[in-house]
């Protein structure tokens, strides 16, 4: 509850990361979501990932739309600026913020209603443009805040809590993100923190449009028999293709894996992702292969999770626009304004 202030003190022996921050420094306000909500687990995973990456908390800008998921940026990284914007419009706000200051880390938090329905267009176009961001959809298949209507990611044939069967086809955001050229695409499950935390960390270190679809059961409206987004259903149908560890900077590449089971992906910034293969044939550098793999498994009712595609040499929107290295929001009249002498010449050319 928001009226309860979160106590600031913590155990003196709490572990510190490379920058000297503890977990607590990455937390936010107390969540106002329902007890047991999958979204709170994602919040915890974001905190964990940022702690492990030793990110300066204030160098993250967290931007969301409207809905249960979009409330969560208030519950992590309390020293970061957050922006709970307009329903379905997180991607455009994030794009603008990113253009203004390329030096911050951009975390876009959205839901399935926010990204697959009202904001489907903005989701698509921000991915197309290659905005350098980590775009997380907390996907529960329902509108929680308005009490349980189906969203566009609800599977055809799944049942609502009131017993209504969904007759519309589902939108698979992962498939769309792959098709639109996202350069880091993953799916995970809010109940699987060991898979989710490194995925978020790797996505943050990825330069380009990173998209993570996180199935996150709605405890209040979509966790019953007949739902395909319930804890039980997702656990039963989860088909993880890989698990990963993110290795940054000084960390040596972990060698305690059985030979042949690990694929190391080096990202643009030098960070490394060690992928522990579960499906030996799965190649996360093959966009077309990933699309086929997903479609085949979806037809069998399986929910494919893991790092599905990554292009370690991706370019972002700033490279496409050839913008200066200095953040645009720091430029002043001395570099932006051509001045009166130039204006006189312009005037002369207009006579």
């Amino acid at each position: 509850m928001t009226y309860i202030a979160k106590p600031k003190f913590h155990h003196p022996g709490l572990k510190k990361n490379e920058l000297g921050y503890t977990h607590r420094d990455y937390e936010g306000k107390i969540s106002t979501l329902c007890a047991g909500c999958g979204h709170d687990s994602i919040t915890a995973s974001i905190i964990e990932a940022c702690y492990e990456l030793s990110i300066e908390p204030h160098r993250v800008a967290k931007i969301s739309g409207i809905g249960c998921s979009s409330k969560t940026p208030d519950y992590f990284l309390g020293n970061s600026h957050g922006f709970n914007s307009v329903h379905g419009r997180m991607p455009s706000v994030l794009t603008g913020a990113n253009l203004a200051n390329r030096d911050l880390i951009y975390l876009g938090v959205s839901g399935d209603g926010d990204s697959a329905s009202i904001g489907f267009g903005q989701f698509a176009h921000s991915i197309r443009r290659g905005v350098n961001m980590t775009y997380i959809v907390e996907n529960n298949g329902v509108y929680g805040l308005t009490k349980g209507q189906f969203s566009a990611t609800a599977d055809r044939g799944s049942k609502s809590k009131k017993g209504v069967t969904n007759t519309d086809n589902a939108i698979d955001l992962v498939a769309i993100a792959l098709q639109l050229g996202a350069t880091f695409v993953a799916r995970s499950f809010s109940g699987d923190k060991t898979q989710l935390v490194p995925l978020i960390a790797a996505a943050i270190r990825h330069k380009g449009a990173s998209f993570i679809d996180v199935i996150s059961p709605c405890i209040a409206f979509n966790n019953h028999a007949g739902s395909t987004k319930s804890f039980d259903y997702v656990r039963e149908h989860n088909d993880a293709v890989n698990r990963l560890d993110v290795l940054v900077g000084r960390d040596p590449i972990a060698v305690d894996y059985a030979p042949g089971t690990v694929q190391v992906v080096e990202q643009h910034d030098g960070s490394k992702i060690a992928l522990r293969k579960i499906d030996a044939d799965y190649d996360p550098h093959d966009r077309l292969g990933a699309q086929t793999f997903l479609a085949r498994h979806a037809a069998k009712g399986q929910i494919v999770t893991g790092l599905l595609y990554v292009d370690p040499e991706a370019e972002d929107l700033h490279e496409h626009l050839n913008t200066v290295e200095t953040p645009l929001n720091t430029l002043e009249a001395d570099t932006l304004c051509p001045g009166s002498a130039v204006l006189d010449k312009i005037n002369a050319s207009l006579r």
């Binding site: 928001t2 908390p57 204030h58 160098r59 800008a61 940026p73 208030d74 309390g78 020293n79 970061s80 600026h81 957050g82 922006f83 709970n84 914007s85 307009v86 419009r89 991607p91 455009s92 706000v93 994030l94 794009t95 603008g96 913020a97 990113n98 253009l99 203004a100 200051n101 030096d103 911050l104 267009g121 903005q122 698509a124 176009h125 443009r129 929107l317 700033h318 626009l321 050839n322 913008t323 200066v324 290295e325 645009l328 929001n329 720091t330 430029l331 002043e332 009249a333 570099t335 932006l336 304004c337 051509p338 001045g339 009166s340 130039v342 204006l343 312009i346 005037n347 207009l350 006579r351």
Partner: protein, 615 residues
């Protein structure tokens, strides 16, 4: 043949070109206007074009005006009828005693002409076809050939046109000489075969001075460059697209780092107007100067974000190049019809700052100022242009910039200020002007962060649905709007020679027609004090002006007299004292229209005093 004396006029007439869209006539017609300017004679050209790329009728009208009346005049003294589709209407539109210029290659039945005009036939197609074989060349040079013929008929100096051609095709010798050749083909034919010059003539003068000739959209875009805009997001829509295109062109010239070649700007063509304004809001939230350009339908789509900008207090600049609405309306016709839509855009109680430039020079100034205002007031600033200013070349004073000027970045709390222990409340009014401090994201590791939201919150940006907290914030927003009154451009007042009980209020593109109408009204014996409104919220002098006059005419280009509504609403004025003068057929308002509407109303007011009637 003529039973009406041909019009005789030097440096004061209207020529209208009737063309087919896509025939390449625009550049020849524009050259005609520029050539007259080079004679030192002011012109006011207007493009009347369809929502179409090829095939539909288009007109280009040049008002030649030694007296410098830059509004549309109405009526046509000479029609250059190059479009068979509109022939009948074009011929019918010529003033009695006027002139018809046409391509006489194919004989026309006499019923297609009029007895009271002078008909000038030039076999343009025949001349073109005997000189050129390439179809595209034939089409393009035909335009230059009629320009040449007109230059002889109107007694223009061919050297000045050659000079213009030289400037346009600098470095492209082949094009240059072939254009000059075509010009003389037409000119020589006219000199040899027609009685030159006509009663309509261009005579060298010195009335242009140092004025420049520029489109409002280009000037506004240049204002954005000078005003420090670094992010532009837009979605194509007539008549605003050329703002973003001009901004792109200006930035390519003036905004690349000379060493690295990198861009000191970012331009994104959004997927729609929602994304465009979203990008602007995101960039401004993060401390960059950002803008979008759009027109009515785009404003409708943007309103949710505009409300967020108002309530969460995020700067934004929206250039609205107005066109005739509602709905898709008349996309290529002008109006001032989004006044109410912009002033109160979005659900809930909102009010927004509007700027009303009268011409390209003010569009430049106000565009640059809009970014200072947006950051100072932390809200949306609308630059209210319209198609008439935006998409037509207009003669105006040269653009000016003071190099000593620094940008006003508004109240931004820095890391140093936070470290000094300054109390940071994102919505805390510390100076009594209703304007709080903001921090940019990433400013300080432990201080100054806050959560931006469209929901209600307290002075420290903490979520709250407490009634008193909400009301406190809404009242501060009103205070901030009152602060805006003294920051925006003030109205300009010009009083009549003799004291009068009557006044007139006008704004934006109505300006040149209004200035001219005042002369016409004075000639009819009507004295009027004038006030040109340049911004909303209205300065207190607007209320004084209303109080000082019995009747005030409000002249505007929309059906519902929207500015009048806004004045009545914001000043609590008796509406009876504000007389609407509205023009809304999509053509630019004229002095003739204004003078007639106001003059007729004034005549009605002149009842014989009772005492006189009795005695």
């Amino acid at each position: 043949m003529s039973d009406k004396k041909p019009i005789s006029s030097v440096n004061d007439f209207v020529v209208r070109f009737a063309n087919v869209n896509g025939s390449g006539s625009a550049s020849a017609n524009e050259m005609f206007a520029r050539a007259i300017l080079r004679h030192g004679v002011p012109v006011s050209p207007r493009n009347i074009f369809p929502s179409n790329i090829q095939g539909l009728p288009t007109w280009y009208e040049v008002r030649v005006t030694e007296d410098g009346h830059l509004g549309a005049r109405g009526g046509v003294d000479m029609m250059v009828a190059m479009n068979p589709q509109t022939w009948d209407k074009d011929v019918a539109g010529i003033e009695p005693g006027g002139y018809l210029f046409y391509d006489s290659t194919k004989p026309m039945p006499s019923t297609k002409f009029r007895d009271d005009i002078t008909v000038i036939g030039v076999p343009l197609t025949a001349i073109t076809n005997s000189t050129y074989t390439d179809p595209r060349q034939r089409q393009l040079f035909k335009n230059i050939i009629y320009l040449g013929a007109l230059s002889a008929l109107l007694d223009m100096d061919a050297k000045l046109i050659e000079q213009l051609i030289g400037e346009q095709y600098k470095g492209k010798e082949k094009l240059l000489s072939s254009n000059v050749h075509a010009l003389h083909l037409g000119r020589d034919w006219a000199l040899q075969n027609l009685k030159c010059p006509l009663g309509l003539r261009i005579k060298k003068s010195d009335k242009v001075g140092d004025r420049i000739f520029i489109e409002g959209n280009s000037a506004a875009a240049l204002g954005a460059v000078y005003g420090g805009a670094t992010v532009c997001a837009w979605y194509p829509i007539t008549p605003s697209s050329s703002v973003a295109e001009a901004f792109t062109a200006h930035c390519k010239k003036y905004r690349h780092d000379p060493e690295t070649g990198k861009a000191k700007y970012a331009i994104v063509q959004g997927e729609d107007e929602l994304a465009s304004i979203g990008i602007v809001i995101g960039a401004s939230w993060n401390g960059a100067r950002a803008f979008t350009a759009t027109s009515g339908p785009g404003i409708s789509l943007m309103t949710e974000f505009i409300g967020l900008s108002y309530f969460a207090e995020i700067p934004a600049v929206i250039m609205n190049i107005q066109r005739a609405g509602p709905s898709t309306g008349m996309p290529t016709r002008t109006q001032q019809c989004d006044i109410i839509a912009c002033a109160y855009a979005s659900h809930g109680d909102t009010k927004h700052v509007l700027l009303f430039p009268e011409d390209p020079a003010e569009a430049f100034e106000f565009a640059a100022a809009a970014f200072d205002l947006a950051e100072r007031l932390q809200t949306t600033i609308f630059l209210m242009l319209d198609l008439d200013i935006g998409m037509n070349h207009r003669l105006c004073r040269p653009l000016k910039w003071d190099d000593a000027k620094q940008y006003d970045r508004g109240k931004v709390m820095t890391a140093e200020m936070l470290d000094e222990g300054r109390d940071f409340g994102r919505y805390l009014d510390v100076d009594g002007d209703g304007i709080p401090y903001r921090t940019y994201p990433g400013t300080h590791p432990t201080k100054g962060s806050y959560f931006t939201r469209g929901t209600s919150r307290d002075r420290y940006a903490r979520y709250s649905e407490e009634g008193s907290v909400y009301a406190d914030n809404m009242q501060r927003l009103m205070r901030k709007f009152e602060t805006a009154q003294d920051l925006v451009p003030r109205p300009l007042q010009a009083n009549a020679e003799r004291p009068t009980k009557y006044g007139v209020i006008y704004f934006g593109s109505t300006s040149p027609a209004m200035d001219e109408a005042i002369g016409l009204l004075e000639a009819r014996g009507h004295q009027l004090d004038r006030m040109r409104i340049r911004a909303f919220p209205f300065h207190s002098s607007v209320a004084s002006f209303l109080a000082e006059h019995d009747f005030v005419y409000v002249v505007e280009q929309n059906r519902d007299s929207q500015l009048r509504q806004l004045i009545v609403n914001e000043n609590g004025i008796d509406p009876v004292r504000l007389v609407p003068i509205v023009h809304y057929d999509g053509t630019p308002i004229t002095a003739r229209f204004i003078a007639k509407a106001i003059g007729d109303h004034q005549d009605h007011l002149k009842v014989t005093p009772l005492r006189k009637a009795v005695s």
